[in-house]
């Protein structure tokens, strides 16, 4: 099957999965009130996050489409909805200022004078287009990695905390070992070995990222295990699986949600650092920034590339950080009472 078909299917499944989780959460009063609380505290940031998600989803669905006569064969590759919002021959030959009518160097007339809102880059690609496409990469890094981190952390954390004994010793040893390696170095080593590519980067980020959540979950499970209602359930002969799913997991979910949201921005920022070291994901904002860093030393400097990518990155991270703080305020029992 073609790669883009697989990718479309995965996106479809993901959206369905998220919708299912959201629907389940919506039925519980606790989560409905928490969501309303976050929306009340940080409406603007939440809107920004949703906007980025929307752009990313638009860019995630792609297809080839019916052939047209004016198209060269080389153009017959899958294009996403975002790509389709721009004409096929939207490229220029080289740099041009935002909304310029002529090229930045040499002053030749552009094919589309005044149409490139954020200018074009060194090989004439539209910067607005590239920036919009970066949203998909950022959400892929944050989202896919979170999907790797949460099951790993829950599986190891809950089982270690609940069963204790040798298994707990082993998991604790595993966590200590992974945590002992400096995360950036470990990331680099993993990518050097796994090879470059979006999935590899996400796996590497996942391997370094699950440890913190696992430790939290293990600690919380140790505490919950001794609580009266869990003991009562055990005394009544409730099966272990049922105890895990009915009594432990729901009481761990707030930790998972808080950590996942706070983790997200860290992951996207890590990807920027990786791009800067030359091992990031193609098309990310980090890579745009990396490519643009020499453009500042030109005379006159070329700033629109750098500014567009940095501002997009900044806006997403800021919004996620603010939403994350609100989520923690709402869900964390220690702060839930403070400052309404």
């Amino acid at each position: 099957m073609q790669a883009y078909v697989v990718s479309n299917l995965v996106v479809g499944l993901l959206v369905a999965g998220v919708a299912l989780v959201a629907w389940r959460a919506w039925r519980s009063r606790l989560w409905r009130e928490a969501a309303a609380g976050v929306a009340r505290r940080r409406p603007a940031s939440l809107a920004v996050v949703l906007l980025f998600v929307g752009v990313a989803l638009l860019d995630a669905v792609s297809w080839i489409g019916a052939p047209r006569e004016d198209e060269a064969l080389s153009l017959r590759k899958p294009r996403s909805l975002i790509d389709r919002a721009f004409p096929v021959d939207w490229n220029e030959r080289s740099y041009s200022r935002p909304l310029a009518a002529v090229e930045f160097y040499g002053g030749r007339a552009l094919r589309h004078p005044g149409k490139h809102l954020l200018g074009t880059d060194i090989i004439g690609r539209d910067v607005l287009h590239l920036t919009l496409k970066g949203a998909r990469v950022a959400l892929l890094v944050g989202g896919l990695t979170t999907l790797i981190v949460i099951p790993l952390a829950l599986l190891f954390g809950v089982s270690a905390g609940y069963r204790g004994g040798r298994w707990d010793d082993f998991v604790f040893f595993l966590i200590s070992t992974l945590a002992a390696m400096p995360s950036l170095l470990l990331l680099i080593a993993l990518i050097a070995v796994l090879g470059r590519g979006p999935v590899q980067v996400c796996v590497a980020l996942g391997v370094t990222g699950w440890v913190g959540l696992c430790r939290l979950v293990r600690g919380e499970t140790l505490k919950l295990r001794e609580l009266d209602y869990v003991r009562a359930a055990r005394a009544l002969g409730v099966s272990e699986v049922r105890i895990l799913f009915r009594h432990l997991l729901p009481n761990l979910m707030h930790l998972v949600v808080i950590t996942a949201v706070l983790l997200f921005s860290g992951l996207v920022l890590s990807e920027a650092v990786l791009s800067w070291l030359g091992i990031g994901i193609d098309g990310s904002w980090g890579q745009m920034i990396d490519q643009a860093r020499d453009e500042l030393s030109r005379d006159p400097p070329i700033v629109w590339n750098l500014l567009s990518a940095s501002l997009a990155l900044f806006a997403l991270i800021l919004a996620v950080n603010r939403v994350g703080d609100a989520v923690r305020d709402v869900l964390d029992p220690r702060t839930a009472g403070d400052a309404g």
Binding site: A180, M181, P182, L185, A189, S265, S310, F314, D325
Partner: protein, 321 residues
């Protein structure tokens, strides 16, 4: 106390062994020696050259089990060389790795030590200021600024700082390094300023949380009820008691002074261990990467043990068992 130290160190050693095993799986299990050779001497190398390279670097040993001599395997050699700090030569350019480490440690320390000290000083004083005005709009503005600062990528701080301070204002040289005493500060000023700006948001937020947690305690209320002024409460009661969590955090950071800073060093041309690591990444120099990860984890484990001990020394309520 002594038995605790011994047990803690022993567990640390076990974790070191775990790290070494992980590194072995990562670097020898997932990558074939042929691929390492190809990356080292070029994709188009003839097969004889590849074989020669593998033999020269000792990668021709069996990985796990050698029927003739059980000690002559890659696994044993990997553990032996790491644990005896006999790192051998780089896969790429045959320079001794330990010599590189010795050369890089000076520039790295001259960057990281002042950075840690200034970072802690700035962090504590700014966050004391913000925590003093807790609940007012100074606090709100301060926290908002912290979140804004945290949301900017370190990469942008570096590029922006270099452009603004180095190029437009021309205060300091853009990059480079010179170890002679009079000049070194001129080269370090820019990276240190940039790193301070990049880290200040997160540290102020952390210290502020620590301070605020203290201000809710009973003894603070008692002090205030006895007529203690706000400033005195902050400086004498809150700060002193908050120093415990702060101290442990700082102690944890000390071993990492020795691993240098990847981004700052490579971008500002400081020939330290961080820059060396970045070079190793670009050259696919697995032998150097392996050593750096190993040293980094040694540093982390040492930091953890130091943290536990300093905690027990400072906080007399803690009893080590």
């Amino acid at each position: 106390m002594l038995s605790y130290v011994i047990r803690r160190t022993a567990y640390g050693f076990v974790v070191v062994l775990g790290v070494l095993f992980f590194l072995f799986v990562l670097f020898f299990g997932a990558v074939k020696p042929e691929d390492m050779a190809l990356r080292a001497i070029g994709e188009k190398a003839p097969p004889e050259a590849i074989q020669q390279w593998i033999v020269n670097h000792g990668y021709d040993r069996p990985r796990l089990w050698n029927p003739e001599d059980p000690t002559d395997t890659l696994l044993v050699e990997h553990f032996r060389s790491m644990l005896s700090f006999d790192f051998g030569r780089s896969d790429i350019d045959d320079v001794e790795i330990s010599r590189r480490l010795r050369e890089g440690i000076g520039p790295s320390l001259s960057l990281t030590v002042p950075l840690l000290i200034l970072g802690v000083l700035f962090g504590i004083s700014l966050s004391l200021f913000v925590a003093y005005f807790r609940g007012t709009y100074i606090d709100t503005v301060g926290v908002t600024l912290c979140v804004l600062g945290m949301s900017v990528s370190i990469v942008i701080y570096i590029i922006g700082g270099q452009y603004l301070i180095g190029k437009t204002l021309r205060w300091f040289p853009i990059s480079g390094f010179d170890p002679s005493p009079g000049v070194v500060l001129r080269f370090l000023a820019l990276p240190i300023t940039v790193a301070l700006a990049a880290g200040i948001g997160e540290s102020v937020r952390f210290y502020r949380t620590v301070f605020l947690e203290e201000t809710h305690r009973d003894y603070v209320r008692t002090a205030r009820a006895k007529g203690c002024g706000d400033g005195r409460v902050m400086a004498h009661h809150v700060l002193r008691n908050s120093l415990i969590p702060i101290l442990t955090q700082v102690v944890m950071a000390i071993p990492f002074l020795f691993t240098g800073s990847l981004l700052l060093e490579s971008f500002f041309g400081i020939p330290g261990l961080g820059a060396m690591t970045v070079e190793a990444i670009h050259d696919n120099d697995f032998s150097t990467l392996r050593v750096m990860v190993f040293i980094g984890s040694l540093a982390f484990i040492a930091g953890q043990i130091l943290t536990d001990l300093s905690y027990a020394l400072v906080d007399t309520r803690v009893r080590l068992e």
